[in-house]
Amino acid sequence: MRLRSIYTDRIASRLMVIMLIAILCMPLVIAAGLFYKASPLLSSSSLWELIAGSAWAPTRGVFGFRPFIAGSLYVTLFAFLFASPVCLLAALYLTQFARARLVKILHPVIDILAGLPSVIYGVWGILVVVPLISFLAEDWFGVQTTGYSILAGGVVLAVMCIPYMLNMLIEVFRTVPAGLKEAALSVGATHWETVKHIVIRKSLPGIFSAFGLSIAKAFGETIAVMMVVGNSIGFSLNPLQPGYPLPALIANNYGEMLSIPMYDAALMFAALLLLVIILVINLVFRFIIYRTQLR
């Protein structure tokens, strides 16, 4: 009996280790697979040409990914600019000022928003955001636009990000110990001063990690953005112009134009780029978090 329980114990712990290793290997396996499939493209053009080139002529075998990379970054930047102040202030209000009952009511609502399929946000974008941008651009700036634009992508992406970012920030602010706030109050800080000097400062690593995870998630978001961003190749700093983010490129074309030589490899390279950029975003935020924790 004793021998049996020792064996069960051993098998169970081995199994857990194997599962863990399998999970950790997943991104490596995916990256290796993408690299393998993209390698024909990498051997025919240099990495710099691919990343920095802006010409896109698949039939002539010219693949420049700069407009796609820039489009992705631009949409994500707008989403971050719209979502982060909203989430920061809302999370501070909910955790530091509102009554506990309000948080109890709002939490399920935020969870529902986070669980909505992204295609619904896309439809909402087409029905509301795109026409609104088209109307306002003409009304305020006298600019004719269809509304399908980087800005529309940014707004839709921001709205998609909000429940996700908000949930994380609420958890971050909740973990600030009451004793710490009382320490500040007891030397004469007002409620707002306590929030500003203590709660936010103590939460900085958590705030950065919420931002980082949200940005990384937003960067790879596909369907909803693809539905409103216009999907036209080329890049302009004017956010009212359409763009073409990397995920949209892959989702729109994979399986359709594969008769063109190298197209398959190009799309795999796009996927690899996406993976690497998300990895870099994560690493940058890890570094920022590490630096803020040291203070």
Binding site: P177, G179, E182, V187, I198
Partner: protein
């Protein structure tokens, strides 16, 4: 200036549950008053009423009066941060603010409007010396306060409280997280500080109360059962509750 604290008819309720009932108390100036009693008897709640930290607990209803220098701190229109600056607070475990050692001391001064850098630097040194921490930290004033040992952190918190020039020190079981050596340092500091400050110390450690108290307030079930000089209370308890407590504590 010396502050006086007088509490009359203080009641605290959580919903319909009474936490403190009929508290009437005068705290002697420049003495250590010990609030003694079993866990859950309302000592900490009483202490937190004095600097209105109880305001944070929205479920509590407070009635009655607490007069500090003759001013009712529960009256309408009272500026609560100002009330709190009259008292330094030391909690059960130290809560250094998430900033450097020097900034922890300077924080309260800056809140009070002190902008003169030389004056702030001078005050930082003065109050670190006051709690005997200066020699230990003088070379790393810019280091995070959390890098100090827990005993040093507690002294830093005391210095931070003293920096805003209070006249009262509220201490809520301030040695409960500390090792015996650090506890002794804090106790010795209290003995020195009572020359200038009125100290109110919450404890359930009978021996600590005997070592430090000039005036003892024994509480049980949210009421003050007995109060008076320690000699009288510890040698000749009048109530069965205190008698039982003394028997169990010795």
């Amino acid at each position: 200036m010396q502050s006086t604290i007088a509490i009359s008819n203080l009641q605290v309720q959580a919903g319909s549950q009474p936490i403190l009932t009929d508290i009437n108390l005068e705290i002697p100036v420049n003495r250590i008053t010990v609030l003694l009693g079993p866990s859950g008897c309302g000592k900490t709640t009483l202490l937190r009423c004095m600097n209105r930290l109880n305001d944070l607990d929205k479920g509590l209803k407070v009635s009655g009066r607490i007069l500090i220098d003759g001013e009712d701190i529960y009256a309408d229109g009272v500026y609560v941060p100002g009330v709190r600056q009259k008292m330094g607070l030391l909690s059960q475990r130290p809560w250094p603010l998430p900033m450097s050692i020097a900034h922890n001391i300077a924080y309260g001064l800056k809140l009070k409007g002190e902008r003169d850098k030389r004056q702030i630097t001078h005050k930082v040194e003065e109050h670190l010396r006051q709690v005997g921490l200066w020699d230990e930290v003088r070379h790393r004033l810019g280091a995070p306060a959390t890098s100090l040992s827990i005993g040093q952190q507690q002294r830093l918190c005391l210095a931070r409280g003293l920096a805003v020039q209070p006249s009262i020190i509220l201490a809520d079981e301030p040695t409960s997280a500390l090792d015996p050596t650090s506890s002794k340092i804090i106790e010795n500091l209290f003995r020195q500080l009572k020359q200038q400050y009125t100290i109110i110390l919450v404890t359930h450690i009978l021996r600590q109360a005997k070592r430090l108290a000039d005036h003892v307030v024994f509480m049980s079930d949210g009421r003050i059962i007995e109060q008076g000089p320690p000699d009288q209370l510890f040698t000749n308890p009048q109530s069965p509750q205190l008698r039982d407590y003394l028997v169990d504590g010795n």
